[in-house]
């Protein structure tokens, strides 16, 4: 899934330095990083992202945790203002998937000050750096970009290069310290900023996080941001261009369903989800390293990011008037709410009609009856009037009870979640066994709780307080003797 398994290194100053050691999986082959990448406009040959190269793994010393001192020194030599922010956070219960309970970490960030600007606006490029080989290449690419950006004169907004530890927790701590607020309620979780980046990250800013794929509705960026990414990706030919074939159609459908599932889960799929609260448009870019045809290389990702930064740098206003609540079948197409809502509307219409036809004609819901019953016979004051109908037993013959029961059990939040997990794995082309599915199910519940605790995600309380009681009520209505 993650494309960043193997190690990278590449240092513009000449001496290649390893960031974090990686005993990578089998993905090194897909990172065909060319030694010379021709197209990037650059004044200085040594300092552009195309030069990010692969470093032989065997010669790297094993490291653990985030190399804070090294990062600070490197950023300093690049000519950035460097600060670090230690944070600590105690989880309510041990997180077994990531093996953490009392989280202690450090965020390191370097600020590239825009010349002739008063630090009123800024862009953030963030790369999570965790223990192990996870996402090392992103950090390396980020540093290479920082080095290239430092030599340019055209920046109108400050650029903050943030390396955060313990990915989402680190980001949340950084954001809270940045905005000088304490949302998660953890005393001392966000120590005061050693040096705030000078009032810079106004809510008008845009953040690029270098990790994950395109998000959407609740926790995703507005379409303006995604458009930009798509434009840059198109310019760099990172995506396929054949449209009209059946496999492409199926692929789009798969992407769409995946997106629906991800959005429905309500979890932040990347760091960008956390920026939404602060009204900062964010996007996470992730190289997908699968066994498909379309691979990426670091040079292309670097060019894409540079293009996005230069476009964002030219923005005079915050991204606004962008579409929200959209679905993405592919990178360059979207389904707006105006298109998919009628479908939902018809689904609901069936229910409405059902209800209104339930009690001897249409007397249950006079407005609906008026609307739908133009050329029907409306019983004038016949039967039970409006409000007097109650939820009595339907008078027509109903399907067998146990069918209802099965249906109701299937729509319990728990069963939906379980089915959702299987569907998700199927769509990811990574099917799992029943036992694994059960484990993931338990994991998902634990993570839902944790998300609620850590980032204030509302899905868990929504299900526990609203959806589940509703389900119980429905059960009672149907099976009350």
């Amino acid at each position: 899934m993650q494309g960043c398994q193997s190690v990278l290194a590449a240092w513009p100053g000449g001496r290649p330095v390893c960031l974090v050691q990686g005993s990578g999986l089998s993905h090194a082959a897909s990172l065909r990083v060319p030694g010379s990448n021709p197209a990037l406009p650059s004044g200085r040959g040594a300092q552009y992202p195309g030069k990010v190269g692969l470093y032989p793994r065997s010669s790297l010393p094993p490291l653990s945790g985030m190399p804070v001192a090294w990062l600070e020194k490197t950023m300093w030599t690049l000519g950035l203002e460097v600060y670090k922010q230690p944070f600590s956070h105690t989880l309510p219960f041990p997180d077994e998937t990531r093996e953490r309970y009392m989280v202690k970490g450090t965020n390191v960030y370097g600020i590239l000050r825009a010349p002739r600007a008063a630090s009123t606006e800024s862009l953030v490029l963030s790369a999570p750096c965790s223990e192990g080989q996870h996402n090392n290449q992103a950090v390396g690419l980020m540093l290479a970009l920082a080095s290239y950006f430092r030599g340019q004169i055209y920046w109108a907004k400050d650029i903050i290069f943030l390396v955060n530890e313990h990915d989402l927790i680190g980001t949340e701590a950084w954001l809270e310290a940045y905005h000088d607020v304490n949302i998660t309620g953890e005393a001392g979780s966000s120590s005061p900023f050693p040096a705030r980046p000078a009032a810079s990250l106004q809510p008008s800013d845009v953040v690029l996080l270098f990790k994950v794929a395109l998000g959407g509705r609740r926790l995703g960026p507005g379409l303006g941001m995604r458009d930009l990414a798509a434009l840059c990706l198109c310019l760099t030919q990172l995506q396929r261009s054949d449209w009209a074939t059946l496999p492409t159609y199926l692929h789009s459908l798969q992407t769409l369903l995946l997106m629906v599932l991800k959005q429905g889960s309500g979890r932040p799929q990347g760091d960008h989800g956390l920026f939404l609260r602060y009204h900062i448009e964010a996007i996470t870019v992730r190289g997908i390293n699968s066994f498909r045809q379309h691979k990426y290389d670091m040079g292309t990702v670097g060019k894409t990011l540079e293009g996005m930064f230069r476009k964002l740098n030219n923005l005079l206003e915050r991204l606004h008037q962008s579409y929200f609540f959209y679905l993405l079948p592919s990178l360059s197409r979207f389904v707006s709410i105006g298109i998919y809502m009628p479908a939902f509307g018809f689904l609901i219409l069936v229910l409405v009609l059902k209800i209104s036809c339930w009690e001897r004609g249409l007397s249950l819901c006079p407005p609906l009856a008026l609307w739908f019953g133009w050329n029907r016979h409306i019983p004038a004051g016949g039967g039970a009037g409006w409000g007097g109908a109650g939820w009595g037993a339907p008078s027509y013959s109903s399907p067998p009870r146990f069918l209802y029961a099965v249906l109701l059990v299937l729509v319990t939040p728990a069963a939906t979640l379980l089915l959702g997990i299987f569907l998700y794995q199927e769509l990811m082309e990574y099917p799992i066994s029943v036992l694994e599915g059960w484990q993931r199910f338990l994991q998902a519940i634990a993570e839902g709780l944790l998300d609620h605790y850590l980032y204030g995600s509302i899905v868990f309380p929504f299900i526990a307080i609203f959806v589940y009681p509703c389900w119980l009520l429905l059960w009672n209505v149907l099976f009350w003797k």
């Binding site: 002739r116 008063a118 630090s119 000088d180 000078a198 106004q202 809510p203």
Partner: protein, 573 residues
Amino acid sequence: MAGASVPLGLLLLGGGRAESPRDALREELLLSPLPSGDLAATFQFRTRWDSELQREGVSHYGLFPKALGQLISKYSVRELHLSLTQGFWRTRSWGQPYLQAPAGAELWVWFQNSVTDVDKAWKDLSNILSGIFCASLNFIDSTNTVTPTASFKPLGLANVTNHHLLIYAVLPREVVCTENLTPWKKLLPCGSKAGLAVLLKAERLFYSSYHSQAVHIRPICRDASCLSISWELRQTLTVVLDIFSIGQGKKDWSLFKMFSRTLTEACPLASESKVYVDISSKDQENELLEVIPPPLSTHEAAVQGERKTYAVYDLLNPALFNVSRSLNVQLKWKRPQDGSHLSMPVLHAQRYVSGYGLQTGEISTLIYNSHLYRAFPILLLETVPWYLRLYVHTLTIITKGKENKPSYIHFQPAQDRRRPHLLEMLIQLPANSVTKITIQFERALLKWTEYTPDPNHGFYVSPSVLSALVPSVLAMKAVDAEQSPLFTSLFPSSDGTSYFVRLYTEPLLVNLPTPDFSMPYNVICLTCTVVAVCYGSFYNLLTRTFHVEEPSRGHLAKRLANIIRKLRGVPLL
């Protein structure tokens, strides 16, 4: 020179400089490497005119620009300070500035006692200055003008204490570019033709991290006895050049590399023309840097609490041009600096907006006193536009975990669409401390015509101003202002133990709740459609008369009959 010869010289030569020092020009360039490795270049041009400008009838102008002189006499200005700045002086990494200015445009003026309607004079003055300097100073109105009570004292000779004669305004959004530089250069007696001003090449000056140009006009003592006054016009220009990006990572620089020009002569009208290079190094025993050509003299002074050594190049000294015809000052570092430990400036500050959402927010100011053992007071001036409604009861000042009571507070609340908030405080900063000042505000909803064309960019809040007398580690000798270099002599130093510092914090960019401006268009479209469809059909239904048409028989026969009747000329059926 005898006083009697002055009118004689006037009569004979019409203000010739040979006989009487009626006006004099000094030009000066200070090059100082900054702790971060950047380079600050400060140009100062001082025109001094021994004349009573305020008296009527001054019509002959020599070096002093006539446009400004007439302005001063017409509006009875006592002091005028205008600065136009692009960028922000980063005190934390660049150290204490000689002359800081807030981002954007800043204008503050002291009027004479004789001015009765200060507001009108201020309005006219800002409009005229707007024309002279091609800046948007005409946007200065009552919503961004304040009258500070304590922060801005007259810099020149003055005995005014009535602060109602002072007016202060900042436009934080002003963008400074060549169209502001050109009129500024035209005020120089030599223009940009000769002297130090040849280095003022716009394309190099704006390839920088910070650009600030200013005009200061003030009355000064004519001589030591101070019986009569002279007028002083100081034009200053500060640029910070990013040596890292110019020099491809090396920190060596030369005049030619920075300005793509070299110096060949002084301005012929100048009585003094000098280039100062700051060569003081932190550790005395080993010299880290080398200047080429070797300076003919050096100047030592205690500036801003530090002992500094300057290499001096006097352009009026012919010995300087003996070796080569042009002067290209170069600086080379003998070995790479280890700049990872920056020395903190004694006083610095930062300001930011905290919180999220579009309803409320909080303005926080952090003020650092890194002096190890001396506490000192500072004056803080905040000007906040009316559309951020400050809640004064939420004002908290916390130093080292304890509340810090200001010894003086002046608060003038805003009036909607008429006047901004003004908050002035005198706060004591304990030694080696950080003071956090927070105040909460609520964002107002503007009328829809009051939004700027780019409302989603945000609205600017002007920088707050910190004025302080910072205690000095060194004892500074009181020196004669006429003899010392220009960069040390703008702010009057009270005594030898402290020096005056004025700092500006960052401007803030605040988002206000912004409506969707395409909404009116949508509403108009929708309303028109609804009206057209409903009204049209109703009107149609109401006004149309219906009648029952009888089925007519014999259609064809009737028509035939009518044709025949028409031919016959009898009335139709």
